[in-house]
Every structure is written in structure tokens, then in C-alpha cells.
Symmetry: none
Subunit: 151 residues, 2 copies
DNA sequence: TTATAAAGGTCAAATAAAGTCAGAGAAAGG
DNA sequence: CCTTTCTCTGACTTTATTTGACCTTTATAA
């Protein structure tokens, strides 16, 4: 039996227009006669950051899903950071080093670097006792994705 | 379906003149064929203090609604945000509003705004089950402090 | 001074999205 | 076979929008 997820993936790709696609989860589910959560599955397995996709969404009335394909180009370094360097957990020191490296490479401006550092600083995370390192990794990852997402 | 609130928001913004807009709730409701309370919804979600708007109103005959956009100096805005607006806990929506307000005020660049938003996004904080709102406040506060002390 | 009309305010419920997660079932690898 | 990994679903959760019923405040006409 053909894998449904593959079909949905192909369909979504066909919906891309000038770098992005806008969808309604429920409509897709209807179209493919599957559970809505199936769409989430396709999104996470077929359109991950590692492949250069950024998925954003809004709930509630008028909500929807938007998938953007990033043209990596010179942001290759960032992409690698996100994919390889940023493991599940990183220490404050590692984060610091990564950010400094990106500033030196000119990928982050100095103000951006300071912001990023502040966001994952111990001071910002004092409330969290357990799993600080994983949280730091998540936050930094999202920050870098946001930078990637920017032209 | 186009979101009515968005249209109303745009319309209200078009009514701004030299820093403020004066409206009648009932007239707006009539114009957009909606419940009057819908206008209140738009006011609270689209024109919050966090974005630098101050909404005042008067009831009774001859009453109405007045929306002012406050424009303070950079440092002052930041300082106020950190001191007054940023409570111990803030929701994702509030954070969003604060950041958008700072971008609109030219205090954060668009890339910086996106970074900040990413840092406090639900996605960045999924790991944290308990006390997300407080953590978000802490992170955002540290980010703003970092910007404030930049020279 | 009081009644009434003309504002605006609040809140809970209905509706419309999307997200999460555990677990069932199917495929693939050994 | 047996185990692991991939696919798919359903129940439950979270968030956003819209409306309607009921409440409060204010100006002014009687």
C-alpha cells in the first residue's frame, strides 16, 4: 500500500508558490480522508528544519499553517549549527561559544549576539531547575531558526 | 474566511490622525455588521498597552472611544517595559505584543524582534510544563535589559 | 431631581481552528 | 519470527474569534 504520508508530502509541495505554502490542517485531512493529526505527522517528518523548512501556524478562527522553504545559500553555517552542533543539551559555556562564533562570522550582529546570549543566560533560566541544558538548546535553536528564516 | 478583527484593526488604524483616533463603538459595529462587543475584542487584542496604545472612553450621550499611540524615547520605553509592563508572568500573546510594539517603535530591528519572539515562543519552551509564563517573563526581561545596556 | 436614552463594558458560551501524546497497526531488518 | 522503526488514529488540550444577554455610566429633557 502506498504510504499516505508520501502523498500528502507531494501534495503540500505542489502547493508551494514563491517559497511558501499556506494550508488548513482540517481541509487537508478532509481531502486525504485522514485524521487531522496525520498532517502534523507529515509536517514533522517531511518538513523539518533540517531540510530547510520552517513551519508556523495559528490556531482558532482564521488560523492555518504556513510552510516556508528556506534558501540556505550562505547561511549554511547556521544550518549546520542547528543540525549538528546544537544537540539536545548544551551548557551555558557552549552556548556562549556558539554565539560568539556566529558573531565573529558576521552571521549575527553584535546586538543580536548579545540578545541571544541574554536569552540563554543563567539569569534568564534561574527558574528552571531541571533540564536547563535542554531548554537552552531549544531556545537557542529557535533563535537560530528565526535568523535563518530572515532573508 | 477573512478575519473580521483584522479588517476592523486596519480600519481603525486608517482613522489615526496626529497620534490618535476617535470612534463610536456602535457606529463601527454598524459599519462592520457585527456585535458591538466585537469592537472591544479588537481593542484589547490589537491595541494593547504592550504595543504602546492607550484606550480611553466615555459612556453616555456624546461619548466615544479614543485611542492614542504613545511615543516615548527609546530608553524610556524599554525601561517602562521592563519595570511596569513585564510582570512576573506573561502570556505568549503579551510577549508578542510587547515585542511588536518595540519593533514598531524602532527600538528593536525586525531581525531582533524575530529573535526575541523565537526565544520566548511556545516552541522554544515546550520542555517546560510548569511556570512557562514566569520563564517567558524572565527571558524577555533579560533580552530587554541586554538591549537597554547596549551602547 | 428623576427618568430616559445613549453611550460603552463584561463575561460566558458557541464556533473554529490547530497541537499533543499514547498507543495500535504496518513494514522493514536481522 | 522477533524486534525495531515508521505510520496512523482518536481522545483530549489549547488558542482565537464572534456573538448575545445583561450591566454601568453619563447627559439631558421633563
Amino acid at each position: 500500500m502506498a504510504i499516505l504520508s508520501n502523498d500528502i508530502e507531494i501534495y503540500i509541495k505542489s502547493r508551494f508558490d514563491s517559497g511558501f505554502a499556506e494550508l488548513k490542517r482540517s481541509e487537508l485531512a478532509e481531502l486525504f480522508q485522514c485524521a487531522p493529526s496525520q498532517i502534523n505527522y507529515v509536517l514533522t517528518t517531511r518538513f523539518p528544519v533540517e531540510k530547510g523548512y520552517v513551519v508556523t501556524s495559528r490556531r482558532g478562527g482564521g488560523g492555518g499553517i504556513r510552510i516556508r522553504k528556506i534558501n540556505l545559500g550562505e547561511k549554511e553555517v547556521l544550518y549546520r549549527m542547528i543540525k549538528d552542533v546544537l544537540k539536545d543539551e548544551i551548557s551555558g559555556r557552549q552556548a556562549q561559544a556558539i554565539i560568539e562564533g556566529l558573531v565573529e562570522a558576521g552571521i549575527l550582529s553584535l546586538p543580536q549576539g548579545k540578545m541571544a546570549a541574554a536569552a540563554v543566560s543563567d539569569r534568564a533560566l534561574t527558574l528552571v531547575r531541571d533540564g536547563q541544558a535542554s531548554l537552552r538548546a531549544d531556545i537557542l535553536k529557535q533563535i537560530l531558526v528565526a535568523v535563518l528564516y530572515e532573508e
